[in-house]
Amino acid sequence: MNNMISGKAYVLGNDVDTDQIIPAEHLVYNMDEPEERRLYGMYALSGVPPQKSGLPKGNIPFVPKNSDKSIYKIIIAGKNFGCGSSREHAPAALSIAGVQAVVALSYARIFYRNTVDGGFLIPFESKDSLFNKIRTGDEITIRQDMYILKNITTEKSYNLKSLGEVAGIVETGGLFLYAKRKNLISK
């Protein structure tokens, strides 16, 4: 696992649900067809209400118009991130848009599990709520081995929680790679 994740932060609030992460009308695209797959990046976070898109100011598009890549690599959010549907298209859409890590106060269970088992990105939990301390566009680095998030823009550092029991799956890159390494399924 690459030890450092660096990039700009995109900040969201509490209870960001999967309908906000990828609205249901877009779930028809085929992940295995490149032209359709990129649409997940294009519509990632398109269901977030404009005033809550890119806090604290809001009205900041996550993905530029007609693009499928975001300039933001790290999402900062409050509690219960990814609540609602079991759609794995949600962490997939964030990953396709270029997100490498989410740092939330807490996660909804199925989203967290999908993120880990699908190996899409790393779901860190912060010890304190960070969405009111970090601003959209701030430059962030995450030291993964130390579980420390540093805001380069403000020069402040914050502790993250250990990944705990799922660290093994996160490090190998998902459930299938983990199961193959552990000889739970044949290689």
Partner: protein
């Protein structure tokens, strides 16, 4: 151990499990549908090989239900992917749209087809798979990667949840439905109040409910973050299951020394008809406090509020009335739809009651519960305000980001359809 712990221990081939423990369990049924089936199949083939066979063709149930009655080309292509996979793998349990086998909403179809068996383990690629807990079994939603893993191995790792117990004491008053109870509970504990936990329902009020109402309760545990809902199987459960299948099942009870994370007690007569305001299911308030909310649409349908019990409730209120705003009725399944012609109130069929009242009826599917493609029946395409028997009122959940959804019981939605404003159903039921 609790019921949930006992089911998981049995499926892990061990005598005892503790909450918080990660275990591998054997799966009895894997269910998928048209939205998550195709990507699950994609991952299955990528990981196990193009020619791989599923672990057990008798244990995979494919129920297309989300985007069926739409012109969307991608949606049709996705159902076609399911058809080809079913053919290739020889899967007997496929409910093919456009044929006599088509059913409708998966969670209701699973029960109708006898797949919900006390003591069993069901994983489904849909968050409302927790509905099945009404049958004293373990059911929960998973993503495509996990589903592909189950498809190939019949196993999945799972963390044993702690159990929260919710006891509804006393008889239910005649105006109260399971939807009111669960909206009250979610309002109490919050949208993440049961994250990682099992929610067990108990008490006189619960066991007086029929199976469909118990399904409504368990259906919405995910709206509090719950992993699974569970109600101990009783005579009603056995009767329902035996009428639908010869498959064997096992009934589990809590041990006398079972440990609960918390116990929450409610007096049934103190719970009022509840409405959850936009944009979270936890925003519940008594319906009577929202009289000033003017509606553009009323919606009765979905896995939560589209069963025959829900429509009988709505019809009791709509009989000999006229709706004042656009009102949509979508039966969950074809079986529910057929009962519109056999169930009667004062000699009138449900279909006639709805038609006479000015309601628009759609074909069985998930329809507008989750918005879906723009041509979906009943979808909110602008800034409409809707009251609905469905399960989620998130931003844009039923279509346009500008729309607003209020969640309520079928009684409350039907009463509101008559007045055009959010209405406490007691005004109509007590007449």
């Amino acid at each position: 151990m609790t019921i949930t712990e006992k089911i998981l221990a049995k499926h892990a081939n061990t005598s005892h499990v503790n909450p918080g423990e990660n275990i591998w369990i054997d799966v009895d049924v894997l269910m998928t549908h048209d939205v998550c089936g195709p990507p699950t199949i994609g991952i299955f083939k990528k990981q196990f090989g193009e020619n791989a066979k599923v672990w057990d063709s008798q244990k995979i149930v494919i129920i297309p239900d989300h985007y069926i009655f739409t012109k969307d080309k991608h949606a049709h292509r996705n159902v076609q992917i399911l058809r080809e996979f079913v053919q290739e793998q020889g899967l007997p349990y496929f409910y093919n749209p456009g044929t006599e086998q088509y059913k409708g909403v998966c969670h209701v179809a699973l029960a109708e087809e006898g797949f919900n068996l006390p003591g069993s383990v069901l994983f489904g690629t849909d968050s409302h798979t927790c509905t099945a807990g009404a049958f004293g079994m373990f059911g929960t939603g998973i993503g495509n990667t996990d589903a592909a893993f189950v498809m190939g191995t019949g196993k999945l790792w799972i963390k044993v949840p702690e159990t929260m117990k919710f006891i509804i004491e006393g008889e239910l008053p005649p105006y109260l439905m399971a939807k009111d109870i669960i909206l009250k509970i979610i309002n109490d504990i919050g949208v993440d109040g049961a994250t990682y936990k099992a929610m067990e329902f108990d008490g006189e009020g619960i066991f007086s409910l029929n199976m469909e109402e118990r399904m409504t309760l368990c259906n919405m545990v995910i709206e509090a973050g719950g992993k699974n809902g569970i109600i101990q199987a009783d005579e009603k459960t056995i009767k329902y299951v035996k009428a639908r299948t010869d498959r064997e099942f096992e009934i589990y009870q809590n041990d006398s020394d079972a440990t609960f994370e918390s116990i929450h007690i409610f007096q049934a007569h103190k719970i009022e008809p509840m409405v959850a305001k936009p944009y979270l299911p936890s925003n519940g308030v008594p319906a009577k406090t929202l009289k000033d909310i003017q509606l553009d649409q009323c919606y009765i349908g979905s896995c939560t509020g589209g069963k025959i019990t829900d429509f009988i409730a709505a019809a009791r209120i709509l009989n000999n009335q006229q709706v004042k705003v656009k009102t949509i009725v979508v039966p969950a399944t074809r079986e529910v739809d057929a009962k519109f012609d056999s169930e009667t109130i004062h000699g009138k069929t449900l279909r006639k009651i709805f038609t006479d009242a000015g309601v628009e009826l759609g074909p069985p599917s998930c329809a507008a519960c989750l918005g879906g493609p723009p041509d979906t029946f009943g979808r909110l395409n602008s800034d409409e305000i809707c009251i609905s028997t469905t399960n989620r009122n998130f931003h844009g959940r039923m279509g346009s980001k500008k729309s607003q959804t209020y969640l309520a019981s079928p009684y409350t939605v039907a009463a509101s359809a008559i007045t055009g404003n959010i209405t406490d159903p007691r005004e109509y039921l007590e007449k």
